[in-house]
Symmetry: C2
Subunit: 217 residues, 2 copies
């Protein structure tokens, strides 16, 4: 939160607010602004053909998004009520002529999203359903740690999680039940999950089986 001041703050900006579920911008729109997420959770998504929706990113406080100069390549929607800082693209570009730091920050924002998405593709293409769910929970836990160790709060719906992991909601539901009954995770209400082991390094999730991960306790 305190870190939310940046070199970008020399540009024209306003605080804006969106209610849960609202569209922040739509794919194909002209890009006129860049956003920083201050509070809440945002999803970036592409809406496919038959109403299939693929969520390509979940964003949390501190994240920069909407870094496009032409048209939006994805939609942004508020997962929860959100507070944003809206920077005009024009003023950011102007500001970039004053210091390379601005360009660096903009590139870093784009780079972070790209890196996450690249690994996201890798996970979807190569992991089984249970592995994907565990990977997601650990990623979320590392990203937004709960107060007590291993506790993960999920601000988004099951549908959102399924659309992020490339699973159907039915499969996701079954997998979560399986993880609960096998004791790999515990439930603290429908949107709070406790991981058996406090966050595991992400790279282990891809290589080890859930059993191997557990036996490493």
């Amino acid at each position: 939160m305190t870190k939310l001041t940046s070199v970008l703050d020399g540009a024209a900006r306003w605080p804006v607010h969106y209610r849960k579920g609202r569209l922040i911008y739509d794919e194909g729109e002209a890009s006129k602004a860049v956003y920083r997420l201050d509070k809440g959770c945002v999803r970036l998504q592409v809406n496919g053909a038959e109403g299939d929706r693929q969520i390509v990113a979940f964003l949390f406080p501190g994240d920069l998004f909407g870094l496009c100069v032409d048209r939006r390549n994805s939609s942004a929607e508020a997962v929860t009520d959100v507070d944003l800082t809206r920077y005009t693209l024009q003023s950011l570009l102007d500001l970039s002529t004053r210091s390379p730091e601005v360009t660096i920050q903009l590139m870093r924002g784009a780079e972070t999203l790209y890196g996450e998405l690249a690994h996201h593709v890798e996970q979807i293409a190569h992991l089984s359903a249970p592995e994907r769910v565990l990977w997601f929970l650990h990623w979320l836990g590392a990203r937004e740690p709960g107060r007590s160790g291993g506790t993960v709060r999920l601000p988004m719906s099951r549908r959102d999680v399924a659309d992020y992991l490339g699973l159907t909601q039915e499969t996701l539901s079954r997998v979560i039940r399986q993880l609960l009954t096998s004791g790999e995770v515990e439930a603290r209400g429908p949107r709070m999950i406790v991981l058996r082991r406090p966050t595991v390094p992400l790279h282990q999730l891809g290589s080890d089986t859930p059993e191997a991960a557990l036996s490493a306790l």
Copy 2:
């Protein structure tokens, strides 16, 4: 292609060359340069845990890549012998203080890759194997049109295509055979394929329903 990056040519740059199969940069390395592809084909990939490899992008002449300010979030390898122009990151950043155009071009480069990857995820998650292969062939045909209508040249191996589409090479091989016997595509040697109908505009493949897009072929 010269117009796309002409504004960057005020930065320090050299022509460089890589042989087929060579590593241009590796995931995790410090980012010190940005590249423009002048000739040949490059793949961006992330290497998963158990030796799984996910190709996240195929690049063609005119494309800008390696736009990172910190560490490489993916590896880049030469699919064929390639000619590149290598820009030092530092000089590009310095140049960005002279004109917003530089920042715009850098952002546009990043934006293009992100947009393609976002749709790539969507395809992998929601299309069947035959649909993925047809989508890839049409994308490639639109990107690198052969001399005669509908002819697509594949500079990359079957293994590369499989790793791009999230399929095994066996499945890819079977699907291609199926498309050949059903007459949907024709072979002109192992690395040249003729599509039944001349290439469809890319936006139709992404935004329309698969039925609409595929039946339009």
